[in-house]
Amino acid sequence: MGQIHLKEIKSISYEKSEVKKGYTDQSLRINLDSNDIIINPIEDKIKDKFIGGKGYDLWLMWNNVNGDTKWNDPENTVCISSGPLGGTPGYPGGGKSIVTAISPLTGAPIDSNVGGYFGPYKKFSGFDVIQIDGKSNKDIVILIDGIENTIKLFNVKNLPEDSYELSDVLTRHFDETKPVNVSVVTAGPGAEHTYFGCLNFSWWDAGRKMVRYKQAGRGGIGTVFANKKVKAVVARYGAVSMKTNSPADLTALKAVTKTHAKEIHTLDPKQNRMAVVGTTHLVPIMNDHDCLPVHNFKFGSHPESKVIGEEVYEHIFDKGFDGCWKGCAVACAHGVKDFSPFTGPYRGKKVFVDGPEYETVAGCGSNLGIFDAQTILEINFYCDAYGLDTISVGTSLGFVMECFENHQITIDHTGGMDLSFGSRFNALEIIHQMARGEGFGSIVGKGIRKMKAIFAKDFGANAAFMQDIGMESKGLEFSEYITKESLAQQGGYGLALKGPQHDEAWLIFLDMVHNFMPTFANKAEALHWFPMFRTWFALCGLCKLPWNDIVPEDNKNNPEPAKVVKHVGWYADFFSAVTGRKTGPEDLISMSEAVYNFQRIFNLKMGYGTREHDTVPYRAVGPVTVEEYKSRQKRYDDQLIEKYNLDISDMTSEEKVASLRQKREEQYEVLKDAVYERRGWTQNGIPTIETVKRLGIDFPEVLEVLKKNGVE
């Protein structure tokens, strides 16, 4: 590769707004139509209501897009924020970035929570949030330099195409002597050619002396980024300490940080061992509980899953500190060094693979019938390097493979490739095609919702069958858990604002294994509290894993162990210590509730956000086919007899499938009613006037959207 070329096209110097109590109270807007760089104050009333993080992102987006804005319109806005608590070194999970845009997959706001140092570096450089709108006509790199107090735009040539190399090259370019001062956000060629492009957020791994990255995966924000011709956004900042956030009470902050970190150091080795195996411990656990997606979510377990779980990856992961934030005690962001891909542009070279996490193993492994740890690593590597979301890739390919095995599509449509389950080389070839925007891969890269339409229209596939097996809701591909036996988690996915991602609610075990929520009211309560509390992490710039993946030893004695009440108390203390705003555990829920409802109304503004959009494919609810029914026949037969009082003695398998379906689909609708009521929404799933008034989000433009949708 020749010399990289960066031509400065705009530069401003600015007086840095010092951080006070976790906030800079400024936002930065880069408009790519005009290359304007605009610094705006953030008003107190916005700070009080939206808190920071995702709240700020959504507010800025709301003001920049209208109801007709499409993902590839210049008005679409990529926002990246930290949050008031973000950038606290040593606090476990204390340095996340939250990214939003209008999604190419869903047409509505999408949000993603990601590690790496970018969010804190950007904040400490003077900006709580940045918004990027407009569209550049040339490839562009944006630099926010909090050491020099300058913001620069560059037109660029001859940069590496993929994120793997690009992150490294730009890190060294912008601070060769102290690369730890640099964090880079990049997409990649896959983001350019698909609808589920991700963003890679980097950090410098001082131990290994190399650039690492984590992904803002969901919903195609990388695609929007690439469509604006942004090659990278770079933040540069110097040393960070606990004082950098200028906390209101440094002593209290140090105390709560030490308490939480110490507990993790002590208990993680006795619990999930995330510092050793990351989230791969979930593979055998999900498999044994029949919740691991196998063959496009048809089944929940497979005997070969033991070769793709923690027992294998524990030995493959490179040893060393793996925190994606400075000093994170969980340190679960593992990787594999000296991996040698057997396909694609890096074939035969040695690379470092960041991952895999559970979602990638399940989505791109068991769900595709690929029980091979090396192939999963290779898929992981190329998805990241190309800027592709491994969850959407895995779930989309699972759909394609089932369509192929079911003869809905044939080799005439796939460019001659056999895409049966387990076809690992062809799965990889599809991923390379996605990056090049070529062949059948370019169709797969449009996501399941669009594939269903294309397969039906152009290939004559059965639309009803694809509707049942295509694991998407709201246009977003499901993350990797089987929900058939957990009605609460069906709601956790179907009622999630952005689409079926588990970061709002993960209730499978509480519901299915422990039967902790037997009534609809119990389930509705859980589908209120958990999404609200989990939203709070995205407001503050935190990672949720330290909340409930390592828990106090006495947590089991608490009447509500799933809430990990002691940690909720620590988070309230953390918030009080940084912001100076006296906060109790219950306040965290009300902070989130305002932003959560605002996001629901944002969906409404974009033409979604009502009951009809909260549906899930029947594959998520129960057995679509006789084959699936028979795989759990006893369980389903028992349910028909005992729960629904049906005489099944003369029923054919097809009739049993149909009866179970009718019952389960009815239950899902009853669940929606219960959740809407608990959340203070109408039976069409829209927040009522009383709810928006109670939450203080009754802005005129919010009321106008409600009125347009019959709520006044």
Binding site: L282, P284, H502, P561
Partner: protein, 65 residues
């Protein structure tokens, strides 16, 4: 003797994970245990025998991704 969460407990013949958990307080939210480094989930509790001198950790409520 077996060790359960760092406490010594008398081992008995025919001891399964399920029968062990029945003797412990507040173990109803335990759906995964680690025995000598290997994970066992609740569907296997009734059939999994515990051998003498095993080292057992009761994992907390599974929290998901």
């Amino acid at each position: 003797m077996i060790e359960v969460d760092e406490k010594q407990i008398e081992w008995s013949e025919n001891m399964t994970i399920a029968s062990l958990l029945e003797t412990l307080d507040n173990s109803e939210f335990c759906s995964v245990v680690r025995i000598n480094g290997k994970l066992f989930s609740s569907p296997l509790f009734a059939e999994t025998m515990i051998s003498d001198n095993s080292k057992i950790q009761l994992l907390p409520l599974v929290a998901g991704g």
